[in-house]
Amino acid sequence: MTRRLRSLVSVTASLGAGAIALALALASLHSCAQPECVVPNYTDPECRVIVENELARLDAASGVEVRFVDPRGSDLDWDALGLVEEPAAGSVRARVASVGDFALRIRGDADEARTVDLELTNVDPRAVLRVGPVGDLDSGITLPQPGEPLLRRQLSVDVDAGAEVELRGELPCPERFTLAFVGDIQTNPTHFERILERIREDGEAAADAGAPLLGMVIVGDLTEWSNDEEFFKIRALLGNAPAPVAVTAGNHDIFRGAVAIYNSYFGPANYNFDVCGARVAMIDTASARLASSIEGRLGELVGRGDADLLIMATHYPPHWGLSGDGWSREDQPQLLLAELALAEADLIVAGHQHALRDSIIHVGGRDLRQIIVGTGGADQGLGVARFGYLRLRVDPSAGITPCFVEVPPPGWAGPANEPLASLPYCDT
């Protein structure tokens, strides 16, 4: 073998061996590793997990600490179940993320008693609010019910030095109730206002029928470009909604890597809540993937717990079928489906596809029902647009009955489309 050839062969072999050794070394090297999100990029779902939890707790300028806790009980000091802000020193605003019961704790200043002016938003006007010492709420007081059907309450809470009080909202539960789901508003908040108006009208009729509207769920894509103006507009619309609104993020809501814009307007995108026997799990799939920590917590987040019914709401459909418009990696939606099957979920509601779809997904020996309701106003491409919302009649002892309400744009005398074979249009 010539010297030149020997050199070539040895260089080749050395390169290959060196590359493999380097890769193995890098894989096991941790001395240069940094924690998650040291350089924030809020298009990364793990960064949003961090910020949604941080925004659920506030150290106010007055020295008090306000934080959301799980009304069902939790070992954690606080939970990502709302958004706490201090728009002006001494004034605290808290947006409840969930529908149904909620709880806030206020820890007083260590040295002096304080009065906290608290504005609560996204609270059902029927909810009964009580304030009292943590662990002994019964010795506290029950606040008077508001005179108007608004989602906003204002109150002042006195907190002694070093003390901690809990503010709890409890929603009286009817035997049957209604939930409304929709997603993908994007460029068309004008039509979304029409849908909201229809939900308000239907909610009044539902209350008369003994199944009041307890909440709405928006499955992402509230905006087109993640702009402040768009979020401001949607938050204002939802502030006047006919019922509290639970929201999760869509891919159009997270375009801005440097700002956690969705979370700063609406708080968490990964959480669950119980409403009168039904558990609704909200999962952030706005980046077409799950944060790894959320993947690890799926058993907790989409678990059924003590609830009779389980609904999972997210932006990207876990099974996108023939649309081809799927997740960034397929193992995660399939793991999510598997967890939902283990939890025996009753329904999956998703958006992203600007269409209405109803399908059955086979997961092992179990069939899961998935309804895609990306009909909140966004452009639907060619064909006659089908706008509207999904209405669920929920009876914890009997199950969920879904139907779709088409809200056609001006110019159509009535529904512009035929119902799906498996999903009827609502009668009223």
Binding site: L8, G16, Y316, G321, Q334, L342, H354, G381
Partner: protein
């Protein structure tokens, strides 16, 4: 590197090695004499340049221009289909593959053209790279994070070939067994769960611990199309059609539960186009069936019924680079550059453009080499490359090439 095509395997037991891929072989079957090119001295001779050394004149430049133009047209058409037809009409499925595959074809044609301009449109070497008969691959894991383990994945691959006696095709059995070597972990970054552990820099507890078993098996039947199929195809290179049924299984052990994902590809069909003796364009497409099964606390897995998944597809462009092929040399050294696109996110991240997530699969670029000592039936292959999606994963491969089965020397 593609498990299906990129590196490894050759033909033969001795030097000169035997049986090149058969469509290619057909093109070479005629005596190796330079066919006179009647247009050699005319205007546009460079454009119509025939690869020297073949009886049938093959013109790589028009072939690459045709592929590039087709790729550009398809990329544009696929993108337009996605944008304008809209989700309400289920536009994404073919649109994503057409757009991604078109871009890969265009990219391959451009790279192949550059290589041709450097003098690469010449006779190929029969001992060019094919998948190793047996190989070991390592794919790097995610970026290092404090408190997390991302060891990457390893795989033992196999891909023996059987060549038909009449030289009209070959059958390849391919597959792999592998997974994560050890356990991959991710932390829970929520501030309210952080706690200081003595002796550890990390305050975040583990949220996800996973072991992965990865298994796949399939066959790839390649049948040579008559060459030339049409009068003009004689100038554009030979082609072959393929059928590649395949199954891929991933078993995720998450501690208290096991989740198994299966992708069944029963009707994947392919086409290979030999644009020049050293350049090949290959594409596969087919329907896909998905099974998802889960079991908790040691229960038995029930795979149940399949779901119809989105289209599966692949596009590859291979460029051979003979490095040391003199007959008198004690070793033969061939290289190959591979560019590819896989329209599936079964194993990883797809390419995302801005907020347009999930329409495309990952792309691959890699360089592989085969080294064969003179007179030896076995050769070794090494290579490296990277998958590109929302992030990248480096791939390192080393394997051995054993003599093929069946076939006949040409």
């Amino acid at each position: 590197m593609s498990e299906r095509e990129a590196p490894a395997t050759t033909s033969s037991a001795s030097v000169p090695p035997r049986v090149p891929e058969n469509a290619e072989a057909q093109a070479k079957r005629a005596p190796v004499t330079v066919a006179p090119d009647p247009m050699a001295n005319q205007v546009g001779a460079a454009w119509r340049h025939c690869v020297p050394g073949y009886a049938i004149c093959t013109r790589p430049r028009p072939a690459r221009w045709l592929l590039g133009a087709l790729g550009l047209t398809l990329a544009g058409a696929g993108t337009a289909y996605l944008l304008f037809v809209g989700d309400s009409l289920r536009a994404g499925d073919p649109g994503g593959f057409i757009a991604g595959g078109g871009m890969a074809a265009l990219g391959g044609a451009v790279l192949g053209g550059l290589y041709g301009l450097m003098g690469g449109d010449r006779r190929g070497d029969a001992d060019r790279l094919r998948p190793s008969t047996f190989a070991f691959d390592y794919t790097s894991g995610g970026a290092p994070r404090l408190g997390e383990q991302h060891p990457g994945e390893i795989a033992l691959r196999f891909a023996p070939n059987f060549y038909f006696r009449d030289g009209g095709g070959r059958l390849r059995l391919f597959g792999h067994v592998g997974g994560i070597p050890g356990r991959e972990t991710d932390v829970d970054p929520r501030p309210q769960v952080s706690e200081v552990t003595p002796g550890s820099d990390n305050t975040q507890p583990v949220a996800l611990g996973e072991r992965l078993l990865s298994v796949g098996v399939g066959t790839d039947l390649a049948v040579t199309l008559p060459y030339p199929l049409l009068r003009r195809s004689a100038h554009l290179g030979a082609a072959e059609i393929r059928w590649r049924p395949e199954v891929q299984i991933r078993r995720h052990d998450l501690g208290d539960r096991v989740i198994e994902r299966t992708m069944l590809l029963p009707l994947t069909i392919g086409l290979r186009w030999y644009l020049s003796p050293r350049q090949r364009f290959t594409t596969y497409v087919g329907p896909r069936l998905d099974f998802v099964a889960a079991a908790a606390d040691g229960d038995k897995l029930d795979r149940g019924a399949p779901n119809v998944g989105s289209l599966y597809g692949e596009v590859w462009y291979d460029i051979d680079v003979p490095l040391l092929v003199r007959p008198s040399a004690p070793v033969r050294l061939n290289g190959m550059f591979t560019l590819g696109y896989v329209h599936s996110r079964f194993d990883g991240h797809g390419i995302n453009i801005g907020g347009a997530y999930g329409f495309l699969g990952p792309a691959y670029a890699g360089w592989h080499m085969r080294l064969r000592r003179r007179g030896k039936p076995a050769a070794v292959q090494v290579g490296f490359g990277s998958w590109f999606g929302s992030g990248f994963a480096a791939v390192f491969s080393a394997g051995v090439v054993l003599p093929d089965l069946g076939g006949k020397k040409l």
